[in-house]
Amino acid sequence: MIFNSPEFLLFLPIVFLLYWFVFKKSVKLQNFFVVVASYFFYGWWDWRFLFLIAITSFCSWASGLLIEKYRASQNTRKAKVVNISNIVLNLLILGVFKYYNFFVETFFDIFPTLRNDHILISVILPVGISFYTFQALSYTIDVYRGKIEPTKDIIAFFAFVSFFPQLVAGPIERATNLLPQFQQKRTFDYAAAVDGCRQMLWGFFKKMVVADNCAVFVDQVWDDIPSFSGSTLLVAAILFSFQIYCDFSGYSDIAIGCAKLFGIKLKRNFNNPYFSRDIAEFWRRWHISLTTWFRDYIYIPLGGSRTTKAKIVRNTFIIFLVSGFWHGANWTFIIWGAFHALLFLPLILLGKNRKYTDNIASNRSFPTFKELLQILLTFLLATFGWIIFRSDDITQALQFFKGIFNKSIISIPMISKCFIFIAIMLIVEWINRNNEHEFQKQSRYRVVRYVIYYTIMLSIVLLSTQQETFIYFQF
């Protein structure tokens, strides 16, 4: 089931009413209902996916208890074995479904004489597998590190892994944040619920008005690159930057807003990344839940940036390549990761990767000219990376770059009405850049609020295209 579907519009109020009116008697009952509703939500895609998420959840839950049992008996070696085994098992499941054919095809590309198509497998990639696998792994690793006590409550744990608002495309929640919320009683918070509804509304606007309309132009161009001028290709690349941002951050806003309706607080996943002044700041603001996951569970254990320069280079490349690879089984994602690693390295080697940790122009209405140039440059660099990310393969990416960097870049491009939607989105985001989300602060005049909300709802209804899926569902 996807958020922008009629089924979800029916599903959400029913689940909301049952959650607060029927199943509120006990936390266990409420959690059980969350699991049932979440499995229904997930099974709507394909009921066969439910076995995988159940296996992942059970293995991680059981591993947590075993780790604690061995640690309590001072058997740290066995605890380590359990932790590693759980990691390997979960990554194996992820690897088979997501990467097996990629590795086999790559092997055949290198050794064509050994090609045997019979060993390729025909498999559907389960929606959201990368997200819930990492979420479950974070639990067992945190238990192993002693950051969180393992839970005996299997229902609460299953609810933590499968909680439907963030199940298929994040945010990737940490057990330290989300699991305790399922272990204690939730009370309905009127202000949070209203705020959640506003955040969902803004998320739907970003996804259905901005992202989906950009997608129409972007798909048209990417389907026939040679037919378009360099300037139009550049326009398409820019629109894709906004498409992927609004698609993904829109989903996150809907997920976080929806969770607020159930008394659950999820972590912020995007913090106006296109207002970043350099690439390091961009990566602190983009897909925060994933980048912090890689930082905490891969980068820091490898030594992070508190080591020799050679190891910093190694660690940076590992992180970005793994991040690229996480997105999908294609060389374009790996090259995209490497591209960002090359952009990030100079900053970290010079110790300038934490130069901008505050919000831009936090005490001013407008950025300075220098800041504006920094924003534009960072955005352009990110856009070049997105060209690689969006392309079907390296050949297409090179074709796209070749198409941009020739004489036809000095020509009048095709323009899309999406720029109006993007301008509205950017203005709202700029004005609210210091808030938790773009719709947090509202006018105190009821009429103004009504006009804004209904205008947005009307635009969602009348300006939506036929696009349905979210881009990050494929990861």
Binding site: W20, F188, Y190, V194, V461, L462, S464
Partner: protein, 311 residues
Amino acid sequence: MRLFLKKTIFYFTIWLAFSTIVDFFVTRTIRGSSSRAIRVWEDVLNSKINEDIIILGSSRACDHYNPAVFDSITGFTSYNLGQHGKKIDMDILRYNIFKKYAKHQPKIIIWDVHGQSICFSDGWYDGIFTPYLYKKEIWSHLDSPQHDFNIFDRIIPLYRYWKKPYIFNYAFKNARNDANPYKGYVGEGGIIDTTATKLFEANDLKCTIDSSILASFKNTLLKMRNDGSFVVLVYSPLYYKGVPLLIGTNEIVSTYQRIANESGSIFINYLQDSICKNEQYFTQYVHLNKEGANVFSHNLAKRLIPYINQQ
């Protein structure tokens, strides 16, 4: 919680009222569009089509039959009721709706048929029906899985416009090239690019004859005859290089001939006509341009005169 539920219901009620009003104005604006697709339906529903000759069919009917030529040659009035992207089942819908609102039965019905007309119909270009879903006779035909609508489109205000931008394309974007029809006809410009290597999408070549559509087709032809109309089935010109690529043409042509014989109609096949060899007459492989449409309409109108004289 009570306050939240009360406010939600209150907001929803206001939205319902607001969206009903907006739906009314959006529908009215679309129905006022000058695009051909909308204007023809408006003429049908407002009982403005009372011509002696009507033309049914898909986009090939839309583009190939110029009523002005038929009017001048035959002395009868004519109207082009062709619909883009539609097959015979939707032609039947068009005819039934037309018949409900028309003031008298047409004397001659020209029905353009081709290799895809009697295949399974998949709801292509269904968006054109969006402003008309409240019409029971149209809704009853669309309420099936292969079409793009469900009950919520009919009962919830504005829902039918959600994620269906193509209706706005029909009404406003396409109107630039397809506006202000003369009796349902606008015509296409341009000349075919014969250097193009890709003639059709692969799926366009396949046709599995749908037996239920075939049965409905024959029943409708018999009904038309019983109502007093003379029906002419026409396989209008196709650029000759495309003909060999169509799969099952002989079977389909013989099916049309058989149906015509059984229903007391006539079938005229233009696939071997000299018009098909002249690339100047085609805008692409399956559609005539305005010049080709005038030549074809002239030719067909002349051939129909003996039958017209019998009416």
